[in-house]
Structure formats: structure tokens, C-alpha cells
């Protein structure tokens, strides 16, 4: 019973066959191995350009952080009450970015959307690295980073525990859980591919992959357990991802501050997270496709699908955004209303309007097929969407501080100092550096899943014929 000849099965199969050809299903499996493994060898010049640029950015960020560490957070021009600045805004941004990996690998996996297969690996890597970046921001943000271990719940000679009521502790736990689970998920799903690497590597690399592949031989027992475990972890990961960003939202929503004390914040944050993550996937899709010559795998139809998904999420976000405004506007809280009005008309109005434009209007570019298939346009659009999403976070954090409950301490014109910008830029460098390193060490395209994809399509096509 190797292939189904049953008419009914074919019928069902056909209904789900996409019109566009996601991938060339006649591609040889050996070719897949060859193409992907090639990406881990000597790269294009562009790789080095990106890598060195990231390294330089990261270096500058490190310099800023050392400067800030030595002199105190005053160098960041933070003040009372503008106490968080870009750090928390960017923290949320990176946390949000991490949600795309889960979306692609877990949600779409459960829903059997197999077009995700060539691109989910790097999305997952993005999840992991953006979480690591977000974690860095927590540390950068702390006034006494050398005492950060006070947040960790462990028995100690002080007999003191963290405050479990604090959303920041929930944050720490949730992010810790998410990071651990993402790394486990990324690694676990990579084991068959690591075996491929092991089988094709030499020397130290072989030892390395040998160790990591945990003796994978592709036996039926391994596959069966692997499938179940992978699916289970994926199922865990979906509520986890939702909970993580909901918890980040509670950082704001549980407080009483105007502009934060909004019930719809958790779904709003989750939608924003998926949105920015998808936009980032488009960006990285285009970059990887070019840098590693993955045109065969990261095909235009897949980009098209990703863009359509992004557009759908953009509309969800837009809706939730409007819900937020509406609930404040029609709510009975004059202070919250005042803060909303300040966002729209005050010193930060330009950013607010830009955020709404970039977040809700620009994604309409994704609605046009001709634009979707234009790679340079998509690169620009995805970057703009990301900028919009970053501005969203900035507009959540800053105006509430600038125009909160207490008029005496309003800071209408506050802007961050170069140190903050430097650290934010450095975080992008750090992320992209890690990502580039990952691409050199691990297969960016899931070989075994692409093989599966190719195989199933091939079989289905033959059956149809």
C-alpha cells in the first residue's frame, strides 16, 4: 500500500492542492541535500557584508552598554517619570518577533500546511534569537544588572524570594519557558537534518554533528517517536506563545496607567507579535533566498502565501488596534482619553500617525499579487511593517509616561539619548550576527521535511495523473 489508488482519497487530496506550484516536486533528494549543505560552506560575498555590518553594529551596542553600565542609566537620558524608554519598547518588539517561528512551525504544522516546510527552520531560529535579544534588553534595562539573579526563584542564603505577583516575574518565567521550549523545539526538529550533516561532514564538524544528531539513523522507531514528540511539543508551544505575549501585555494591562489599563491588550499584543514576526520572516526570506541561493526552495509561491498570511494578520491587528482606541474613546476614563488624544495630537503625533499608516495602510500592498511577486517591493514593505510595529511598541510605552496621571511630571518632549539608540541598533546587530552564524552552522532549510513535501506532492501528482 505504497500509493493510494482510491478515487476518494485523490478527490480529497485534490481539494488541498494549491494552484501555484510551491516547489518543484521533481527535484532529486540528493540535490536537496547538496543545495542545503552548500549553504553551510563558503558563502557569497553578501554574507560577509551582512555579517560584518552586524558585528560592527553589535560592537557599538556593546560599547554603549559598557558606557551605560559604568555611568548609570542617566546616560540614557531616562528620567522620572520617563523611566523605561526604548529598552522596554524594543524588548516587546523582539518578543513579538519571536512569535512568527511558532506560528510557522507549530500552528501551520498542526494544520498540515506543508508550504511552511522550506521556511520554518529559519523562522524558528529567528524565534530563538529574538528571544535571546529580548532577554538582553531586560538586562540592559535593569539599574543593577549585576543583581538580576534576585528575580530567579531559588533557595538562597538570604531566604528571600522574588515577588510572584509581579508581571515581570511572570515575564521572566514565561520567557524562560518559551526560550527553553523554542530551543528544544528547534533542536529536536533538526535532529534528522543533523544526521545528514553528520553523514556529509568531515573532521571536527563530523564529531560535532555526530554528538548533536544523537545517533539518528532514521529507523522507523525513531521516526515514530520523533513524530509524536514533535507534534506534542508543537501543541505545547502554541498556547505557550500566546501566553508569553499575553503576559508581556499584562506588564502594561495590569497597571492602572492610562493607555495601558486596557482589557484588549493581550490579544492586541499577540496579533502585533504575529504581525511583526511575519513581516520579519518576509525580510529574512528575501535575504536568505538571495544570500544562499535558495530560489529552488524559497519559491515565489511560498513568499506569496507568507505575504497573504501577513496581510490577514495585519488586518486582525488593525481591528484590535481600532478596538483599543474605541474602548478608550467610549470608555469613561477622561485620563485615558487625554493620553490617547495626546498620542494623536501631542509631541509624538508624527510617530503615532506613522505607526497607524505603516501598520494598517502599508500592508494593503500585500493584497496585490503583482506587488507580492516583486521581491524588492516586498523587502521594502516588510521593513516598513517592522518599523511600524516597532513604533507601535514605542507608542505604547512612551506617551503613557509622558502624559500619565500626574500632570506635574509630564514630559511631553522626551526623546532618548544616543546611548539608547546605540543599544537598540546593537541589538539588531546582535540578532543578525547570531542568525548569520546559525546559517553557517546549521541547515537553514529543513531537508527531511522538504523531501517529505516533494515526495508527497510527487506521489499526489502521479496519482492524479
Amino acid at each position: 500500500m505504497i500509493q493510494s489508488t482510491d478515487e476518494k482519497d485523490i478527490e480529497i487530496e485534490r481539494r488541498f492542492v494549491p494552484k501555484a506550484k510551491d516547489i518543484n516536486d521533481e527535484i532529486a533528494w540528493a540535490q536537496i541535500n547538496k543545495d542545503v549543505l552548500r549553504s553551510m560552506e563558503r558563502p557569497r560575498l553578501m554574507y560577509w557584508v551582512i555579517f560584518l555590518a552586524s558585528l560592527a553594529l553589535f560592537g557599538f551596542g556593546v560599547y554603549c552598554e559598557i558606557y551605560q553600565y559604568q555611568n548609570g542609566l542617566g546616560v540614557a537620558d531616562l528620567e522620572n517619570p520617563q523611566v523605561w524608554g526604548l529598552y522596554i519598547a524594543t524588548f516587546i518588539f523582539w518578543i513579538g518577533m519571536s512569535h512568527s517561528g511558532t506560528l510557522l512551525s507549530a500552528i501551520l504544522h498542526i494544520m498540515h500546511a506543508d508550504w511552511r516546510k522550506p521556511i520554518y527552520r529559519f523562522a524558528e531560529a529567528m524565534t530563538t534569537f529574538s528571544l535571546m535579544t529580548a532577554g538582553l534588553f531586560v538586562l540592559v534595562h535593569l539599574g543593577r544588572v549585576w543583581e538580576f539573579y534576585y528575580v530567579v526563584a531559588y533557595p538562597n542564603e538570604r531566604w528571600a524570594w522574588p515577588n510572584f505577583n509581579s508581571p515581570l516575574v511572570w515575564d521572566a518565567t514565561a520567557i524562560g519557558t518559551y526560550l527553553t521550549s523554542s530551543i528544544v523545539f528547534l533542536y529536536f526538529g533538526m535532529i534528522p537534518d543533523l544526521a545528514i550533516c553528520r553523514d556529509n561532514a568531515k573532521g571536527v564538524r563530523k564529531k560535532f554533528y555526530w554528538l548533536l544528531s544523537l545517533g539518528w539513523q532514521g529507523t522507523d522507531r525513531q521516526w515514530a517517536n520523533f513524530r509524536v514528540a514533535y507534534l506534542t511539543v508543537a501543541c505545547f508551544l502554541i498556547p505557550l506563545a500566546v501566553s508569553v505575549h499575553s503576559i508581556v501585555a499584562t506588564d502594561f494591562a495590569v497597571s492602572q496607567q492610562p493607555g495601558w489599563h486596557i482589557t484588549s491588550f493581550p490579544p492586541y499584543f499577540v496579533a502585533g507579535a504575529l504581525y511583526s514576526g511575519c513581516a520579519a520572516i518576509i525580510t529574512l526570506f528575501i535575504v536568505l533566498r538571495y544570500v544562499f541561493r535558495f530560489e529552488e526552495y524559497m519559491t515565489m509561491p511560498i513568499l506569496d502565501k507568507t505575504c497573504r498570511l501577513t496581510f490577514a494578520i495585519a488586518m486582525v491587528w488593525t481591528y484590535l488596534n481600532l478596538v483599543e482606541y474605541a474602548s478608550v474613546w467610549y470608555g469613561d476614563d477622561p485620563v485615558a482619553k487625554q493620553t490617547l488624544l495626546f498620542r494623536a495630537t501631542g509631541d509624538y503625533a508624527a510617530y503615532w500617525w506613522a505607526m497607524n499608516f505603516l501598520g494598517s495602510v502599508v500592508p494593503f500592498a500585500l493584497a496585490f499579487k503583482s506587488l507580492r511577486n516583486n521581491i524588492p517591493v516586498m523587502l521594502v514593505v516588510s521593513l516598513l511593517l517592522n518599523l511600524g510595529m516597532w513604533l507601535e511598541r514605542f507608542m505604547i510605552v512612551t506617551p503613557t509616561f509622558a502624559h500619565g496621571f500626574y500632570p506635574w511630571t509630564w514630559t511631553d518632549h522626551w526623546m532618548p539619548s544616543w546611548v539608547q539608540w546605540g543599544i537598540v541598533a546593537g541589538s539588531f546587530g546582535w540578532f543578525s550576527m547570531l542568525f548569520m552564524l546559525f546559517c553557517k552552522i546549521f541547515p537553514t532549510v529543513s531537508m527531511y521535511e522538504v523531501k517529505e513535501m516533494v515526495y508527497h506532492r510527487f506521489v499526489a501528482r502521479k496519482a492524479r495523473a
Binding site: 531559588y154 533557595p155 538562597n156 542564603e157 538570604r158 531566604w159 528571600a160
Partner: protein
């Protein structure tokens, strides 16, 4: 199937053990005054003092030792936050009467300071961090004056058996967990009652 259930049982018991260890994380200290090992012993460094003061001779209760009450010299302990170092004229008050040891090098040094009217630069042995407010007065009042515990026991709980040392040396960890381990114990309110209470658990009682 069986092997899996066995594995799971091993894991479960391991986790239960861990959780019990975490939920009940700390061993109890001994009762106050006991010199027993309460798990918070930490021998501090030897501190070089300007005069190597023999606590053993003054406060020890062995033969030939004088067994002086701690608070005879450390007079501030019962009325101030700090126990204080004895004032110089206190030392001189006795030692000008004791001719027999007058020529000992340490006593000579003492009189040198006295003649110059210079205070002796004693160094702190039990130096708590600057954000901690430890009140000697309250502890002495509670355990010495109301509960009538022996002075060696009351002082010795934190300072160790000073009567067996020359210059004092820290023997306890003085960590927060140690303080709390004692504060959470039930202590008699005074000598003539069975009513007990524990130390304050208000952070601002000790942190300033």
C-alpha cells in the same frame, strides 16, 4: 510499557524530592544561645588590631581568667544600636590599679595611647553592610534583661565564644538567612512566662 512506567516513577520521585527540597528549603537553626552548629558557621579572617587584646584573659571563665561580664566593657550594647568599643578611660580605670602587668608590652602600648589622649584605632570585626540596621539594645534587652539568659549565651549566639579567643574573630555567617532563621523561631517573651513570640519580619526593621 513497564519499562516506561518505571522510568516515569523514577522521574516523578526525583521531581518530588526536588520540589520538597525547594518548598522546605532551609534547615532550622539551633535554639538561641546554643553554640551548636546551626549551619551558618563561617570563620572570618584574622583581624590585626592595634593592640592584641586578650578576650580570653578578661572574659574567659577558665582558671586564671577573670570572667568579666561582656557588658561591663561594651557598655553601649544595652542602650544603643552599636555595642561600641570600650572608651579608653575604662581600660585605664582598671589597669592603673593593676601594677603587676604594667610592664607587659600590650599594656605599655595602652598607656602610650592614654598619655597622648589618642583613641585606639580598633578595627571592626563584625561589620554588617551599611544598609543593615542591627540593634544591640533590643537584643540585649529582650534576651538578657527580660528572658534572663546568661550573657555569654546571648552575646555568644552571634559573636561566638569570645571568651576562648584573643582578639575577636567572626564565627558566624551574619547572612540574612541566618538572621531570619532566628527571627522566625518562637522565643519566650520573658523569663516568667510561657508566652512566645518571634522576631519582627518587617523588612524595614533591619534594612535602612
Amino acid at each position: 510499557m513497564k519499562v516506561h512506567i518505571k522510568n516515569i516513577l523514577i522521574w516523578l520521585s526525583l521531581c518530588c524530592f526536588c520540589s520538597a527540597a525547594l518548598a522546605e528549603p532551609f534547615v532550622q537553626g539551633g535554639p538561641i544561645g546554643s553554640q551548636t552548629d546551626d549551619g551558618f558557621n563561617a570563620l572570618g579572617p584574622v583581624v590585626e588590631q592595634p593592640i592584641e587584646f586578650p578576650h580570653k584573659t578578661h572574659a574567659g571563665n577558665g582558671p586564671g581568667q577573670m570572667n568579666i561580664n561582656c557588658m561591663y566593657c561594651h557598655t553601649y550594647a544595652r542602650r544603643s544600636n552599636v555595642s561600641g568599643i570600650p572608651r579608653l578611660d575604662k581600660c585605664i580605670g582598671c589597669h592603673k590599679m593593676i601594677e603587676s602587668v604594667r610592664d607587659k608590652p600590650r599594656i605599655k602600648k595602652l598607656f602610650e595611647y592614654w598619655e597622648k589622649k589618642k583613641p585606639i584605632p580598633w578595627k571592626k570585626v563584625h561589620d554588617l553592610p551599611d544598609f543593615v540596621r542591627f540593634n544591640h539594645e533590643r537584643h540585649i534587652q529582650r534576651f538578657y534583661f527580660r528572658e534572663h539568659r546568661p550573657v555569654r549565651e546571648v552575646c555568644g549566639y552571634c559573636h561566638g565564644d569570645v571568651g576562648s579567643m584573643n582578639t575577636a574573630r567572626r564565627v558566624k555567617a551574619l547572612s540574612m538567612g541566618w538572621c531570619v532563621s532566628c527571627h522566625q523561631k518562637e522565643h519566650l517573651e520573658n523569663a516568667s512566662t510561657t508566652k512566645t513570640s518571634n522576631g519582627p519580619n518587617d523588612c524595614w526593621q533591619c534594612h535602612k
